[in-house]
Every structure is written in C-alpha cells, then in structure tokens.
C-alpha cells in the first residue's frame, strides 16, 4: 500500500473548506485575467499543442471508416460524377476568362484614376475537423494553423459565400467563429441598390439579422447582400446572405431584417481562408 492512499495519523494539512476556498479564488482570478487581458493565450496554445495530436489520432479511425465506405462506390456513380465535374470545369474556365478580362480592365482603370491596385488574395484550403462543444459561441476548428501561415482575423469562405472569421490560431489548427455567432457581424451592401448595412448573427444556426434598419430603408425580401469591403477585413463582393423578411418595429424605432446565409455555414467540410497576397 502506497503512503498516498492511507489516511495520515496526524493531520498536517489545510482543511477541505480552506482548500476549496483557495481553489475558488484561483479560478475566479484566472477567469478575470483571461476575460480582460489576452495573457492566457500562451497557456491555451500550449495545452492545445499537446491535445491536438492526440485528437488527430482519435479522429483517424472515424475518417478511415468514412474513406473505406467511399472505396466501395459504384463505377457508374464515379463516371457520372466525373462527367459532371468536367462539365462544371468547362463552365468555370469560361467564367474565369471573363474574370481575367475584367480584372485587367479593372487594373487599367485603377491606374487611370490614380488609385492603388486592389490587393490580391492568397487562398488557403482547409478542412473542418471538429465543432466545439461550446454553449456560448458558434465555432469550428479547421486543420490549418500558424504553420501554414494562417493569421487571426482573416475571413473564411466556402464555394457559396462567407461563413466566418478566424479568431484563434494554434500551430496546426485554428478556430473559426461562424457568421451565425451572436457577436459576429459583417459589413454588407445590398446588390440591388448598393445600400450599406451591417448583418449580424442572432445565435440561430441558420439565420442572420440586420439589427438596426431604417424604417424606410429600401430593402426587400429576396435581396442579395454582398460584403462591402469597408472594414478592411472582408474583401468586397463575397456573397453573404439573402433577405427573407423585414420585421416592422414594435417597441423600438428600428426595423429588423431576417436573412439567410448563402454560404453553408458549418455544413461543408472544405473551406477556404483568404490571406492577403505577399507582394514582392
């Protein structure tokens, strides 16, 4: 029997209540420090650097099973999907030519007007590896981190539109706060008339809202909202949401618009992190 498991004959330690009080105090101080200052991010990054590899090992069998399931797909399905992808690639190529022409024209106009050229973007492909069990915010973890050049604050999109923003970066992973989070918002512009508004999450998994909308604002159900690029974080022109309905004010002077995000917020596995292009 090891001495640790035996009750000591003479008690020479603090009472349970005192120890409990001390631990409570330490916890409260920790929380206060963590919420006010970002001093604890080092501790957080350290613990994550230890846990992340273990987690990868845990997730591996599940991914393997999913992959093994994919191995037994029918030949017909593969051929059909290949045809569809080829067709889609053709269409995208055609669109890309148009885009190149527009881009060069845009650059020419920029030089004519004496404006600096719009910054280019560098895309980092990432995969969502898990959703966090967090009752306060809506976050997912993706498998690209500071080792791959990801920086906190960058926008994250999928093939349909904006889905969120990188909020914390760890060595091999980073945390993306989704657009649907209550504290997350994006400056947008209505595509139809260029009206600039702010769209925010409302804590629901599938809806966004425009909180303070002028009573007579010209916004209709069906309008598409694109990022306006005014904040310097989100580049202009990324599709964000479609307006579902306008709620007229009842108790406050502002109207409210309920929108539906266009990007599959938190649904698709593959996302793209937009990084500013490094200039030579």
């Amino acid at each position: 029997m090891s001495p640790a498991t035996q009750a000591p004959l003479f008690v020479r330690e603090m009472g349970l209540t005192t120890r409990f009080g001390l631990y409570l105090l330490v916890c409260l101080i920790l929380m206060a420090v963590d919420s006010r200052y970002s001093a604890m991010s080092v501790v957080r990054t350290g613990i994550n650097a230890v846990v992340h590899p273990a987690q990868q090992v845990l997730v591996w069998p599940f991914e393997f099973l999913a992959d093994a399931g994919g191995f037994f797909t029918v030949h017909n399905d593969l051929v059909r999907e290949r045809d569809r992808l080829l067709q889609e690639r053709g269409q995208l190529r055609a669109r890309l030519q148009e885009y190149q022409a527009l881009k060069s024209e845009n650059e020419r106009l920029h030089t004519l007007a004496g404006l600096p050229p719009a910054p280019g973007l560098h895309r980092v492909q990432a995969e969502i590896i898990r959703a966090d069990q967090d009752p306060f915010t809506r976050k997912v973890i993706v498998n690209r981190g500071s080792l791959h050049g990801v920086v906190a604050g960058r926008p994250v999109i999928d093939e349909l539109g904006l889905i969120g923003q990188v909020t914390q970066v760890f060595p091999a992973s980073s945390e993306v706060t989704l657009l649907t989070d209550h504290n997350q918002s994006a400056p947008v512009q209505a595509m139809r008339n260029g009206m600039r508004i702010l769209v925010s999450g409302m804590g629901s998994d599938s809806l966004l809202e425009v909180r303070y909308l002028d009573l007579h604002a010209d916004l209709k159900p069906g309008d598409i909202l694109l990022t306006s690029g005014l904040d310097g974080i989100y580049p202009a022109g990324i599709p964000v949401a479609r307006v579902l309905q306008i709620e007229l004010p009842r108790h406050n002077p502002f109207a409210r618009a309920i929108c539906q995000p266009l990007g599959g917020v938190g649904q698709h596995r593959h996302v793209v992190i937009l990084m500013p292009e490094k200039r030579a």
Partner: protein, 187 residues
C-alpha cells in the same frame, strides 16, 4: 459492510484500510489513466447537432474517484481536469475548473452518506450536482461577458447522471473492485 458502518459512525478514521479498500487499493496510475481516457472520449467527433447532449465523462470519472479514492483525486485533480476542458474547448480558463471544484467539494462532503446508497440512489443524489455544474458554467459565462447562452446544454447534466450506474459498473470492473451486487439489488 457492518464493520465499515460501525467504524465510520463513531467518527474516528480506521488506522488500517478496511473492506473495499483492502481488496484492491486504487493507485495513482489507475486514476490518471481513467481520467485521461474519459477526457479523450469527450473529444471524439460527436455529431454536431447533438453536441449539447454529450455527457461530461471526465466529470463522471472524477466523481467516481472522489467517492472511492478521495486521497488520490480531490480538488487539485478537479482543477487540472477543468483547465484542460476549458483550454481544449476554447472557453474562458477557469470556467470548468471552478465548477468541477464545486462538485468535488460537495461530493467529498456527501461521500460518507453516498456509501450507503445503491447505485440508483447515488445517481439521484448526483443528478442535482451534475445539473449544478452545467448551470454554473453557463451562468459564469454570462457573468464574464458572453451575451448569449445556449440553455440546451443543461440537458448534458441529466445525461451524465443517467450514465452514473453503467459508468460505475464499468469502472468497478476495470479497476478490479469487488462486485457490489448487494447494493444494486438494494440488499
């Protein structure tokens, strides 16, 4: 059973370990491995729609050891486990640590009483504590500046309590403690 009951009731600690503890004393390694394993289970890729129902297995194992090996797993272990939870889930550091410390403290106060109940009776005692833990996390989050809380997460406390009986049976088997069939049948 009677021997333990007598020695506990007259208030003095027995000098020699008796009964259950004599059969197979819990070791530090056992506690550590079971805690880490339970913690890792909560990190598995659970389906996103059911995240709020995922039971807190780490807390379950912690409470088990609080009852059966209070000298090996007490407030310090609760604090460390809580910190690990907070850091991996990206929450405010100290949120889970504090709530785990509260639960551990209450369980340590209750453990003499709990020893005389069947597993179901123990689950009934522990359910309010697990609920309290979830509620503490949510309320502290609110107090420390989160503007919105997903109250569905309270359900995890109930799920954790419901898992108490199977978890105890599994842990008893794994750690080689003597079977407590007499208690399960209420005898």
């Amino acid at each position: 059973m009677n021997g333990i009951g007598k020695s506990m009731s007259n208030g003095s600690k027995p000098l020699i370990p008796q009964g259950e503890e004599l059969a197979r004393p819990p070791t530090r390694l056992m506690v550590l491995i079971s805690l880490v394993a339970a913690f890792m289970l909560t990190l598995l890729p659970w389906p996103k729609a059911a995240l709020w129902l995922v039971p807190d297995l780490g807390l379950l194992v912690l409470v088990y050891w609080n009852i059966h090996a209070p000298r090996l797993a007490a407030l310090g272990v609760a604090f460390a486990l809580g910190l690990a939870m907070d850091a991996t889930h990206g929450l405010l550091l100290g949120l889970h640590a504090l709530s785990y410390c509260v639960v551990t403290f209450l369980v340590l106060m209750l453990r003499r009483r709990l020893a005389f109940f069947t597993l179901k009776g123990q689950a009934a005692h522990l359910a309010p504590l697990f609920l309290l833990q979830e509620a503490l996390v949510l309320l502290l989050g609110l107090a420390y500046g989160h503007s919105q809380v997903d109250w569905r997460y309270l359900a995890a406390g109930i799920v954790t309590a419901a898992l108490w009986v199977p978890a105890c049976l599994v842990l008893d088997r794994l750690t080689g403690r003597p079977a407590r069939l007499d208690r399960v049948t209420g005898g």
